[in-house]
Amino acid sequence: MVDLSVNFCGMQMDNPVVPASGTFGFGKEFKDFYDINILGSFSFKGTTKDARFGNPTPRIAECKNGMINAVGLQNPGVESVIKNELPELKKFFHKKVIANVSGFSVEDYAYTCALLDKEEQVGILEVNVSCPNVHGGGMSFSTDPACAAEVTRAVKAVTTKPVIIKLSPNVTDIVVIAKACEEAGADGICLINTLLGMRIDTKRRTPVIANKMGGFSGDAVFPVAVRMVYQVSKACNIPVMGCGGVSSAADVIEMMMAGATAVQVGAANLVNPFACKEIIEALPAECERLGIERISDIIGVVD
């Protein structure tokens, strides 16, 4: 029997498979397809201080082996998440959930995290810093080590739960950003968020997406994600949650060998609602094929 369990930032998980934020809603849509308690955990939809409608539609474009989304953080706001979504979730999900938090100022992040800190269902706060900083000329918090560190410190100050910072891959040097977060007290790093991409509707001669550009993810981005997981896990001493283009048990193992302690699955859930279930079911055989007895043994095994 292969042991699939991992411990991520003190959170004991039955397996390393975690649906990624924005691709799993608050779990509701998936519980009709399968019992989502089989998951390691899941990261819920990016939550902000205030409710947001997000960007105009079309928000989705197809790519070869991937997709672009420009949802723009549509969510009901943290108060509603706590009042409506979490109690609803409790009915069918009995594990700790990962709370994905977004914001447009350092205060936003701190406000939202302080509220979620009180929720016993929340196991980890996952802070998505790939958002434009309205006080920083719209530049994303994730592109500047000082900004990312500032968010990290502000969040750490308001919670006792583990805080992981979710980084954008659209940067020159991912290691510098990750290290700045580590030094600012982050308990872990999650990466990657989406690559900035664009598709054009050549019949209409317009961008496919109303917002013009959007976040590119899915199978296609896997090699970039593996590379960044590798770089960051070698450079930092805090655990890494790998994410980006994962759609099979083999991908999960590759990402873990690169340095990930747990692995998120994003776009694959949208195309195949059973993606995570199938991955979890396939993991034991895949581990056996590769001579892996405890999956935690392979974390960062590649030099």
């Binding site: 924005g22 691709t23 799993f24 809603g25 509701k28 849509e29 998936f30 009709d32 397809f33 939809k45 409608f53 997000g54 539609t57 079309p58 928000r59 989705i60 474009a61 197809e62 790519c63 070869k64 082996n65 991937g66 997709m67 989304n69 949802v71 549509q74 496919v208 899915g218 199978d219 776009a267 859930n269 949208l270 195309v271 195949n272 609602p273 059973f274």
Partner: protein, 242 residues
Amino acid sequence: MSIQGIYTIKSNCALTADVFKMVLEGDTSAITASGQFINIQLEGRFLRRPISVCDYDETTITIIYKVVGEGTEQMSALKAGERLDCLVGLGNGYDISKSEKPLVIGGGVGIPPLYNLTKRLIANGQKPIVILGFNTKSEIFYFDEFKALGCEIRVTTVDGSFGTKGFVTDAMDSDYDYFYTCGPMPMFRAIESVAKTSGQFSFEERMGCGFGACMGCSCKTKDGYKRICKDGPVLVREEIVW
């Protein structure tokens, strides 16, 4: 509750130059209303393709689709016996409890879901009048099938090559107590500007998932945001923000 399943193609043939009809065999238990759709996985395409259920029975689903891009092109080349992974029973569908003598108004490839709807309205004792709008005679499909349902059918063509010359709105001057429609946005706007009653519109949007998870297909309504794939595709006239 929607399901995922493998469906076998029973037939796939052209109705016009670029509109095809495909019959799929498999579990149809998840379909509960006219106007729902299925989401079809195609070999080598990342996202699924959403297509309305035109008709269904215990074991088959009929869809009608127009070739507009690479995915539908690929679908048109599929052969009987091939198998497709589909999510079935998606969306809310039309609520038919609201009318006695409704107009059913379809334009182009918005027409397919109205076939099962009309059938159901008639079975339910309602008296629909069906208005089908096309560009030109050669693009007409499913006229005989609608005819066979036994209700009044009016066809409009933009060039006047068949039926009333003009738009569907040129055939709306009757007594009706409600309407159900599916078709392109310009048609919706025209209907909105002339319709005298309440009614239901079925919308399209680019989709990431088709089952409510990604927020890719949201639209603003007077009752807050709705997901076209899950809370729609059918919206009631009164809630729509134009």
